[in-house]
């Protein structure tokens, strides 16, 4: 985010108050850019109107990919490339391959999921964070409102934030 004094920040000191404030501020026709919190608050994303994340779908897909890769590797090595009789079993000894197929599924799901999470949130090692308030990672809950994207005046927005229980209202 740019630092062109376009943001009005409502600072709250309680998770339930900020959650209430979101619906209160929204009911006055003010568009909220984002809320920053030190820990997850259940229901905050739905209150803000964020769509439900599709990460579980991604995880499922990666799981399927892991399953297919594990099966492909085992089938290629054990059935096609160098078949061997082990314990008098069929070359295609599927029950024996369940443990490794399972581990492959879990491995792909975990790494695929975390990679997708990092990409979708634009998180990567060494990224310079855009910090609106240094206390967000400590004990403050910050509601950020972009003045340019709102029809209301800055004064109205500030008043709405104060009324909703903000302990501080800052401009950044």
């Amino acid at each position: 985010m740019s630092s062109t004094n376009n943001y009005i920040l409502g600072v709250y000191d309680d998770e339930d108050e900020v959650l209430h404030a979101v619906s209160e501020v929204k009911s006055k026709g003010i568009k909220i850019e984002e809320v920053y919190t030190p820990f997850p608050i259940h229901g905050l994303d739905t209150a803000l109107g964020h769509p439900r994340t599709r990460l579980p779908i991604a995880a499922f897909m990666f799981g399927c990919l892991g399953l297919v890769c594990a099966q492909a590797l085992i089938n290629y090595t054990m059935v096609f490339d160098w078949p061997m009789i082990i314990g008098g079993k069929d070359f295609f000894a599927l029950p024996d391959w369940i443990p490794i197929t399972f581990e492959g599924t879990v491995l792909f799901t975990a790494f695929g999921l975390v990679t997708t999470f990092c990409i979708s949130n634009d998180l990567y090692p060494g990224k310079k964070p855009e910090i609106l308030d240094i206390r967000i990672t400590d004990d403050r809950f910050v509601m950020a409102i972009n003045v340019d994207k709102n029809k209301k005046s800055a004064a109205d927005i500030k008043k709405a934030l104060k009324d909703s229980g903000a302990v501080e209202v800052n401009v950044k």
């Binding site: 997850p40 999921l113 998180l123 060494g126």
Partner: protein, 466 residues
């Protein structure tokens, strides 16, 4: 939104802490100079590590002939230590994944250090796997890599290969889960950092975390899915370890109850190790308000339950050995209890079956000194369990002329000492440079579980609670 918590529940965060107090209390030891106690503890563990590293190096240099193994007893301390450490590792995943799925709030104060312990314990276990190969520089032969032997692949039907995949998946997924849990807390330290070095390092690893509502919502889903896949993963790992034995045809090993029995034993010994470490950590880092008697009691209850499951498993296998009518199986068990290794068997029975039953008394399970002592007793017992299963099943085989005893050499002992040195060196480094309590998660559950929450907040929360 904060959940409604019954007022009769014991508080999980005491001392009337605010969110800022949590940040301050946990970041204190990361930001401050290392304490004298830490320097001593770290120094001693480095010395133990160095001595162990010498013994391990000697083992690698000379080969596993320096161990006390013989033709009859081909697996002894190496595999005992491996199974022991892997088992200990299971508690971390249980606390972070299974208790997350069960929505147990008390896990939040202890999951970080328990997961760290998991990772270090699995590394210790891996050191024995590498050592027992004899030629550790050829360890990659256990992987399905293209090679010059006419593309001869590993045998995917073998439990030992399953184990390679299970342990390496477990290590990497646990590491990932632990690291993603650390990211928000690393951002907290980054934002408080005053020195250039800590700004750089914590900034590098906190991935540019800002704590936006959208990120948190996705983060919660990610944690839930990781917990969901880690739960069957952790159960599969010790199941597969037990199959290293159960799929063989050695009397005493060829037992179908091994998977659940090993998993219960793993959780049992892992919780005991978490207990040992946390009872020290809470005092050294003054975290008594976060790791309370309630937490200690909860862990003791888990120890009692899993210890009882293990006890039933011991009795069941003894009964089945007789009931099966297989004389070799019967002999293996009678020999365990009354043969030359009777002392190891009864050590195991006393430590694992009798001692956790003491925790039925509330006064015992809430007593710190007794909990500490019994947590060590449990792990001694669990080491003997693996020793009994491995060595006493092997030392008297089908031909009496090949019966033998096993006695450890200084390198058996030295390699075991190595694992302790590695474990504690890593744990002390973790405790100094990373937050030992998950700050974000503790803050998230504080309403309702913390004492003396400011009156204004309490009013706001009753208004919003559904």
């Amino acid at each position: 939104m904060s959940h409604v918590v019954s007022p009769i529940r014991e508080k999980l965060v005491t001392g009337g802490k605010s969110y800022h107090d949590v940040t301050h209390d946990i970041c204190k030891q990361v930001e401050g100079e290392p304490t004298k106690e830490w320097k001593w503890a770290f120094g001693i563990s480095c010395i133990i590590f160095a001595y162990g590293a010498y013994c391990l190096f000697y083992t690698w240099w000379q080969g596993i002939g320096v161990w006390g193994l013989n033709k009859t007893v081909g697996w002894a301390w190496d595999i005992t230590n491996f199974v022991w450490w892997v088992g200990i590792g299971h508690a971390g995943t249980l606390i972070s994944a299974v208790l997350l799925l069960f929505r147990q709030k008390w896990r939040t104060s202890i999951n970080r250090s328990a997961e760290a312990m998991t990772i270090f314990a699995v590394l210790c276990a891996a050191s024995f796997i590498l050592a027992h190969m004899g030629r550790p520089w050829l360890a990659h032969w256990a992987l399905p890599l293209p090679n010059t032997f006419g593309s001869l692949w590993v045998n995917f039907n073998s439990p030992l290969v399953w184990d390679v995949f299970a342990i390496s998946t477990y290590l990497s997924v646990s590491l990932l889960f632990w690291y993603m849990g650390l990211v928000p807390d690393l951002a907290t330290i980054r934002d408080r950092a005053t020195t250039k070095a800590s700004k750089f390092w914590y900034g590098l690893f906190s991935l540019g975390w800002t704590g936006s509502a959208k990120t948190w919502a996705r983060y919660e889903y990610m944690s839930l899915i990781l917990a969901g896949i880690s739960t069957p993963l952790v159960l599969s790992v010790h199941t597969i370890v037990s199959m290293d034995f159960a799929t063989s045809v050695i009397p005493g090993w060829h037992t179908t109850i091994f998977p659940p029995y090993f998993v219960a034993g793993a959780i049992f010994s892992g919780f005991a190790m978490v207990q040992t470490l946390l009872l020290i950590t809470r005092v050294v880092f003054k975290l008594e308000d976060y790791i309370t008697i309630e937490h200690i009691e909860m862990m003791n209850i888990v120890i009692t339950i899993t210890g009882s499951i293990v006890g039933i498993a011991y009795l069941t296998e003894f009964f089945i050995a007789w009931y099966s009518g297989v004389e070799y199986e019967s002999y293996a068990f009678i020999n365990r209890a009354t043969g030359p290794y009777w002392w190891a068997y009864w050590m195991m029975m006393t430590c694992n079956v009798i001692s956790p039953q003491l925790f039925w008394a509330k006064s015992i399970r809430t007593n710190l000194m007794v909990s500490f002592f019994l947590s060590i007793v449990v792990n001694v017992g669990m080491w003997f369990e693996r020793f009994v299963i491995i060595v006493t099943s092997l030392h008297r085989d089908y031909i009496p002329s090949s019966w033998a005893m096993f006695s450890p050499t200084r390198y058996d002992i030295g390699d075991y000492i190595f694992s302790f040195g590695l474990f504690f060196t890593l744990f002390f480094l973790f405790a100094k440079f990373l937050p030992v309590v998950n700050m974000a998660e503790v803050k998230a559950v504080m309403k309702g579980v913390s004492t003396n929450y400011p009156a204004k907040k309490a009013k706001a929360s009753t208004k919003t609670d559904e």
